[in-house]
């Protein structure tokens, strides 16, 4: 039901979806979010991104967030894959895939999972740009996005 992974190799969204749906006939909707490395962020000309995590805690945090989603919505499956290590612009970083009987639930749960992942899962990004290397700052907008789910 819940499958979370932290890995450095690239993931294949199609393959992830095949595995999520294997043998199921009751799922009516799958919503997938894929996050990619942009070539501009706090500074232009991002050449690469290094992603660090806290082994043990990161996996536990992702699982906890997924469990919160299943407590909120009637879901049939969640797969979360987050990459670590050095990535280049256009590389996929993260995938959140949610399956449910109906689309609204799947959209909402996927949105929730990404908001919580960005503000609660221990990952840190370092950007390598033409003008130097720096650790990416947390964004207030991400915290505001995550706070939306607390009122509901």
């Amino acid at each position: 039901m819940i499958d979370v992974r932290v890995q450095s190799p690239v993931f294949d969204v199609g393959e992830e979806q095949r595995q999520l749906l294997a043998g199921r006939r009751d799922i009516g909707a799958v919503v997938t979010f894929t996050g990619l490395v942009r070539d501009f962020n706090e500074r232009p000309d991002v050449q690469a991104l290094s992603l660090e995590h806290y082994p043990g805690m990161t996996e536990a945090a992702l699982r906890d967030i997924a469990e919160q989603a299943t407590a909120r919505w009637p879901l049939d499956g969640i797969r979360v894959v987050h990459r670590v290590g050095r990535l280049s612009p256009s590389d996929p970083i993260v995938m959140v895939m949610v399956a449910s009987a109906h689309r609204r639930v799947a959209f909402d749960a996927c949105d929730f999972l990404m908001d919580y992942l960005k503000t609660r899962a221990p990952f840190w990004k370092k950007e390598h740009t033409a003008s130097g290397t720096y650790w990416v700052s947390a964004r207030d907008s991400d915290a505001r996005d995550a706070a939306r789910w607390e009122e509901a």
Binding site: G35, G56, M57, K118, K126
Partner: protein
């Protein structure tokens, strides 16, 4: 228990070992020299002005072990069958750990040789690095274990904790420690990845006291008190009041930026 190097009149004398049985004897001693992280980095990359520091310190330690009887008045001259001196660079504690192992088949122990090897290896490290760092401290020189002879095997009772402790504090029997990790930008800013803090060094067993103990040890740890710095205990988010016990893993890190 009496001191074997004092005779019946309380005068120093050399113990007659002629009628002691020859046994295989071994002693291991250790110590460390604490230096600035920059000095350790230079040492690691061979960038110090006097050249290959570790190779020189190793030879110095071995030579010293062989000449222990010339330095320590009542020590016997021994025909050592083996002397090794090893180094381990510890970035987290910003020090070089030195360990010496001495062996012989004979009638007297080799702990003085092992301790001398560690001491002189540390002194040589100091000499080789002092051009760039005069603050270095040699500490923790001690016997780890010895085997053979009448007194049989002896091992140091408790595990070592690398953290420094005030000399005024009573030595703690319980040296159980809390492992503290620093992650991402915080690790780079503090220039430390991991440190162990004895539970006994905390005023009370909680995160707030851990921060205070670290800050008392080194002012750079005041950065941990910034509001943005987060803390986890055993992989779960924690706060100032979260209680700690021996063997816990505490991590400090900046706000997360994944996704």
């Amino acid at each position: 228990m009496s001191l074997t190097h004092l005779n019946a009149r309380g005068e120093a004398h050399m113990v007659d070992v002629g009628d002691k049985a020859e046994t295989q004897r071994e002693a291991v001693a250790s110590g460390r020299i604490i230096m600035r992280p920059e000095t350790l980095a230079l040492l690691a990359e061979g960038g110090l002005p006097k050249g290959d520091v570790l190779a020189t310190a190793r030879i110095a330690g071995i030579q010293a072990a062989k000449r222990t009887h010339e330095l320590i008045p009542l020590c016997h001259a021994l025909l050592l069958s083996k002397v090794s001196v090893d180094f381990r660079l510890d970035e987290a504690a910003s020090c070089v750990h030195v360990e010496s192992r001495c062996r012989l088949a004979g009638r007297t122990g080799v702990e003085m040789e092992a301790l001398t090897a560690v001491s002189v290896a540390c002194l040589t490290l100091y000499d080789m690095c002092k051009a760039v760092d005069k603050d270095m401290t040699i500490e923790g020189v001690r016997l780890e274990h010895k085997t053979g002879g009448k007194s049989g095997e002896w091992h140091r009772a408790s595990a070592d904790v690398s953290t420094t402790r005030d000399a005024s504090e009573p030595p703690s029997v319980d040296s159980a420690a809390i492992r503290v990790k620093f992650l991402a930008e915080l690790r780079e800013r503090l220039d430390i990845e991991e440190i162990e803090v004895p539970v006994a060094a905390l005023k009370s067993p909680d995160v707030a006291s851990l921060k205070a103990a670290l800050e008392a040890q080194d002012s750079r740890f005041s950065a941990l008190s910034a509001a943005r710095i987060l803390c986890a205990v055993n992989h779960a988010m924690a706060n100032e009041e979260t209680s700690l016990s021996e063997g816990d893993e505490v991590a400090f890190f900046p706000p997360v930026t994944g996704g």
